[in-house]
């Protein structure tokens, strides 16, 4: 069964066509890197997959596990197994990280008709994940992303990814704003998430992240379409030549 299939997808934002017939197939166990110049539609793709309002699908379709998800609300897509790691994670003052994580887990469990996680086991698990991401446990008591540095926010996104264990992770420029050490920690987190049942759509500007998270496929998105696909060698070529030769 295909994990994700995007068929001839066209998307507009405020009547501006951003995606213009995009096709993408992700099978379980695969990591697909999406690269491309600024304004090519990378973040639009990420937001459309997560169901963000204000993005209008004008044609084409999106399938998750062979089910059409276009009519699903964002929370229903999360229940179905999609997770978006935000390029700019928002701050939510007044809601502690721990409370937010528990609320998310409980909602996912309820939607999937699974038992809600035991509070003790939950705490233990969250602290363990935080430790692997080099996040001080004190962060868990603070408001979601409140006062976090850029790197801490990105690690917090990966913490959520590892805790919620979605089937499809869409990582929108997770490497932006990270120093080398933080980049390695985040990459280790993503690699520990990978298995034969899930998939990753990894949006990035730079080949650097792909040294740590080795993709199965690299796609170049330009002017709303995938104009070139290849293996990790394509990313290295892009690093040398830039995007101009493809657009």
């Amino acid at each position: 069964m295909t994990l994700l299939e995007v068929k001839d997808l066209s998307v507009s934002v405020a009547d501006n066509a951003i995606l213009k017939g995009l096709n993408l197939v992700v099978n379980p166990g695969e990591v697909h890197a999406i690269m491309g110049p600024n304004g090519s539609g990378k973040s639009t793709l990420a937001n459309v997959l997560a169901g963000k309002p204000d993005y209008q699908v004008t044609s084409g379709s999106i399938w998750l596990n062979d089910s059409n998800i276009e009519d699903l609300e964002p929370h229903e897509r999360a229940h179905a197994g999609i997770f978006l790691a935000f390029q700019y994670p928002v701050e939510v003052p007044g809601v502690s990280n721990m409370e937010f994580l528990k609320a998310s887990l409980d909602c996912l469990a309820k939607a999937r008709d699974e038992p809600q996680p035991n509070a003790g086991a939950f705490l233990k698990r969250v602290r363990k994940i935080a430790q692997t991401l080099d996040l001080n446990p004190e962060f868990l008591k603070r408001g979601v992303n409140e006062g976090f540095s850029g790197g801490e926010k990105k690690r917090n996104e990966i913490l959520q990814l590892l805790l919620l264990e979605p089937q499809l992770a869409v990582l929108d420029e997770t490497d932006s704003g990270l120093d080398i050490d933080a980049l390695q920690v985040v990459a280790q987190g993503v690699n520990s998430y990978r298995n034969e049942n899930n998939g990753v759509v990894l949006i990035t500007h730079y080949q650097r992240l792909l040294e740590y998270i080795v993709p199965d496929y690299v796609h170049v998105l330009a002017d709303g379409k995938i104009v070139q696909s290849g293996d990790k060698g394509l990313a290295q070529e892009l690093e040398k030549k830039g995007y101009a030769w493809l657009t």
């Binding site: 997560a50 169901g51 609300e73 929370h75 978006l84 939510v92 007044g94 996912l108 959520q160």
Partner: protein, 365 residues
Amino acid sequence: MADLALQGHLEIPAWLAQQHEVKLLDFNQALNSKSHKERWKYTKAQPVLDLLKLEARAPHVTINGRAVTPATTGHGSIQSPLIANLADSPEAYLALCNQHLHSLDIACSDADSALIKIELEHTHSTQPLMIKIAENTTVELIERTSTENDLHQTLWIALGAGSRLVHSRNDFANGNRWRYLKVDIGQDAHYNLQNHSTGTSLHRQDIHLRCTGPGAHAQISSAGYIPKAKHLDQQVVVEHIAPNTSSQQIFHNIAQDKAKVTFNGRIHIHPHAPGTVAHLTNKNLGVGDSATINTKPELEIYTDDVICSHGATVGQLDEQQLFYCISRGLSPLAARQLLSQAFLQQCTLGVLAEEATNNFKKLNG
């Protein structure tokens, strides 16, 4: 607006008359003054004057767990600058005229140097209470309202030099309300009000703090949830009278559909009060359609060398925050509830915070 007038004969207690020569005419002038009309622009004053006719009982007070009976002033023993200006609140004066005034003198003895805990519960309208806290005394005041009947209540507090008072008050019961609070904060004394409440058909809170001694500090954190078609009107004045005083006020209110919320907060810095640091923030969230929110933060500054800020916002839940929560699996309703709760949580503090949070959750549920 029609003129307000007190009907019938006004009996001014001797002890009050000794301090202030006030007559019925003075009341009526104060009730119809420009400043009074401004303070009652969004809430009708007459229903509160009517509310004041309700019979009130003596305050129900415990100190460190023991029930105490506050002294009924023999009137004449009160020489407090707290009761200084009729124009500040003619309603409060009226309460003093109509009811017995009770007083509590709180002092820290050698044997009792720890925190003094006062609990004040309103099970009905409460006669005016004046609490005088001696210098260098640390007090926690917990105030609850547990009646659904209509209620009026006035509280006057004088903080001696170097004293500390953390005042937590919750009011989540139904019923019309008029609550008046006036606090004089002496030299180097700290007053911290943690105020949590809900709206009712008529809920008016008048809060008047005065930093009267150098180094005095006033702090207010206030959270309010005003359910559908209910009302909350908060009128707050913080006066900086002495030099080098400070204040910090944060008010967060949520108004549901057709609710009406009014906030009027004024920082008044007197001449000869340099070195004042004063900040005021009022944030309001409208959830649902047709909520009415009036907010007016004001600064009145009559001296140089001060640091002041005031600001107010009226808005709805942040769309980015909503999407973030929903993308993690929370339903739109659960996300709205979580964010609303978080908005109030930022001003829900102190020993009554848990009780307040539970009440907010019930209203928000």
